[in-house]
């Protein structure tokens, strides 16, 4: 498969995953604030949504204060911010367009529709009139595209590159949301059991689409169990362990080496990451410090992303000078 095509499929899926995550994050925030009248007056109620991105500096310089409208604009319609929904939709569509002959025509059509609904006229009016529906629709459009891909694309190399992108992005997003939200809610840990607290924990789970699955496993809301669930659950498709395991599997499928043969840098990076997740216990994580643990995972994920780029997308003849084709991490 052409490197450029693999690159486009990989990024198209990362962008789609990113779009869905952002939509879900905003949707769960809107829901949570409905349950917390006191918090609605808090001028910093929407700040965590910017903290998650780590782009606070860009936000204060270009957007302003952490008001609801401003945070929503930043995440949804800011064309200058490369991680906003609209920027990701445009990028996903451009990538899809450049591999039109590879993906199924139904997939292209749905990605095109998503683009028209977010970038078309009247989108921002729709978002402010009925934000719940707006973000819900985006989320469902992303699910639809994934479902169509699953059942119309051949599950060959193109599919494995799609999986690789999707699961790496998802692992990254789960770790970021957990990292930021945990420390915001944490100071209130003495009030365990108070309604304020559990509303926030519930919102955290919802923002990772995991409340119902969590309930099935643990019933009671507790911070430690939530962290355990989101990092280590072997079956929940958004836990960090699950995502990295699937990314690793996609990698072995692409490479064609037997599973478990760690004979190059990328394989070893995956192996180390899986080792860390397979052989750690939640108590150890809490002892090291959750933030430090997640920080390491995130930096490992970045290394994996770079190695993928070098191995698959940027193979150069010796004579060629360095020229970067990397997309926005």
């Amino acid at each position: 498969m052409l490197s450029r095509v693999a690159n486009s499929l990989y990024w198209m899926n990362r962008y789609l995953e990113r779009i869905e995550n952002t939509a879900r994050l905003i949707e769960s925030q809107l829901h949570m604030l409905l349950d917390l009248p006191s918090m609605r007056k808090d001028p910093n109620a929407w700040k965590p949504l910017v903290d998650i991105t780590g782009d606070n500096q860009y936000f204060t310089e270009n957007i302003g204060r952490y008001k609801r409208e401003e945070v929503i604009f930043f995440h949804t319609f800011d064309r200058n911010y490369p991680h906003s929904i609209i920027s990701c939709v445009i990028a996903a569509r451009e990538n899809a367009r450049s591999v039109r002959e590879i993906i199924s025509s139904e997939m292209w059509e749905k990605i095109n529709n998503l683009y028209l609904s977010v970038a078309g006229p009247g989108a921002s009016l729709k978002a402010s009139k009925n934000p719940h529906k707006f973000y819900y629709d985006i989320k469902m459009a992303c699910h639809l595209i994934l479902g169509i891909a699953y059942s119309t694309m051949a599950h060959g190399e193109a599919w494995h590159f799609s999986e690789l992108g999707r699961f790496l992005e998802r692992a990254d997003k789960t770790s970021r949301i957990l990292d930021v939200k945990y420390f915001i809610i944490l100071p209130r840990i003495d009030f365990v059991g108070s309604s304020l607290d559990s509303v926030q924990w519930t919102a955290l789970l919802k923002s990772i689409s995991s409340l119902e699955m969590y309930r099935k496993r643990f019933n009671l809301i507790s911070s430690k169990n939530i962290v355990d669930f989101l990092i280590f659950d072997r079956e929940f498709p958004r836990s960090i362990l699950y995502c990295i395991r699937h990314a690793e599997r996609a990698y072995f499928n692409i490479n064609g080496t037997p599973f478990g043969v760690y004979d190059n840098d990328l394989a070893r990076q995956f192996g180390k990451l899986m080792g860390k997740l397979n052989y750690s216990h939640i108590d150890e994580v809490m002892a090291i410090g959750l933030h430090q643990f997640l920080d390491e995972i995130q930096s490992d994920l970045n290394d994996v992303g770079e190695t993928i780029h070098d191995n698959f997308f940027a193979n150069k003849p010796v004579s060629e000078l360095n020229q970067s084709g990397a997309q926005i991490q």
Binding site: L2, S3, R93, S98, R100, E101, E109, N112, P317
Partner: protein
Amino acid sequence: MHFDTYNPEHFYDEYFLESGRPRPEVEKLINKINSFAKSELANQRRAANAAFKQMGITFGVYGDNKGLEKIFPFDIVPRIINARDWNLIERGVKQRVHALNQFIQDVYNDQRILKDGILPKEFILSSVAYRKECVGLTPPKNIWCHVSGIDLVRDHDGQFYVLEDNLRCPSGVSYVLGNRRVMKQTLPAVFEALPIRPVEDYAGRLAETLRNLIPESILKPNIGILTPGIYNSAYFEHSFLAQQMGEELVEGQDLVVMDGFVYMRTTQGFERVHAIYRRIDDEYLDPTVFNPDSLLGVPGIMGSYREGKVALANAPGAGIADDKAIYSFVPKIIKYYTGEDAILQNVPTYVCEDEKQRQHVIDNIEKFVVKTAHGSGGYGMLIGPFSTRKEQKAMIDNILREPRNYIGQPVIQLSRVPVMVMDHFEGRHVDLRPYVLYGEDIYVLPGGLTRVALKKNSLVVNSSQGGGSKDTWVLAEDVT
């Protein structure tokens, strides 16, 4: 909806000899359409448009916002060419492409036609499409123009004329295939009534044409379709052809030249490419040889081509034969190389390089169509009768500044075919672009692209200028 009120007016109408008297080849079709319930055709048209949208058959418009694509307007009333006319077109087009190919080979090698004084040497070699980099080159099997599109028009007497030759990267064939697919879906009953020649196997024939350039000893060759990328106006067609042929769609950045061979970058390393159907112009093909600023091309590919390590279709330099000023010499070119008279006539053409002809164009500019020698897509063209004094004056200034780059042709009253307008039919002007593949033999796709000027009285059929298209039906046999 029916044809009772249709008025062919004073034009050559391809459906009607005169009001109420259909031509024999369309009679069956007209009866069929007349028999439809009132809203049926309008419903079918809606269905056809929806099908186009779904299939995403679009083109990009230069100058519009990045990434904006439009659907090529489609008219549901087909254009019909009877077997006798098609036979003439097919023979004429084959003869023409055969002669043009010999002309290109000659110009870059022995230059016999110039030495024999048949064509003016300086004039020919001053064409901007003349590539000195190709001098002395003979491409695989002596074929230069593997894919060409010959634009034809019919005048008020119904005779076919060649309007221009497209030997660089003629586009539009994907619409021919798309139109046919949609028509078969929406009007199957009409298809059954007539012996219509199929167009389905174009992609397969194109693949064979390219395979013909690769030595047989290479068992599993790689063929690439080189596209400028997603913002090109014909990107849809490039990806469509790649998909239909099952070959790789590549951009310049995917290809690299090493040790004289062309490779594509794949996830498993570099893989050799043996033939490239390139859909980018010569100027952008190789920044080390042509335009150094080109980011679309592949550095070193011309060297590889020269050494015979990669085949390119169409061959660089082939554009010399679609210079619109050289076009005026094509009848002489045909006579010289084949000894035959041209089967298809040229539209009378005045070359502005020549002082007398130039003066005639300038004096009669309001009656002429003026075109640049290298333009395409209807850009930079003047249609005398539909232009303002100011536009005419600007064009005259252009001609005087750069006479070699302009030609004038008298306005042709293009033939008309009915189109659906609201709830009735009206005549609109059309042209025809048959596609020609030069492989082991010369093959002409039956029919080709019929472009139609959807604006009333307009003579401009280009998609970028408000034109649309029709399905073109060539009949396998004539009604007797």
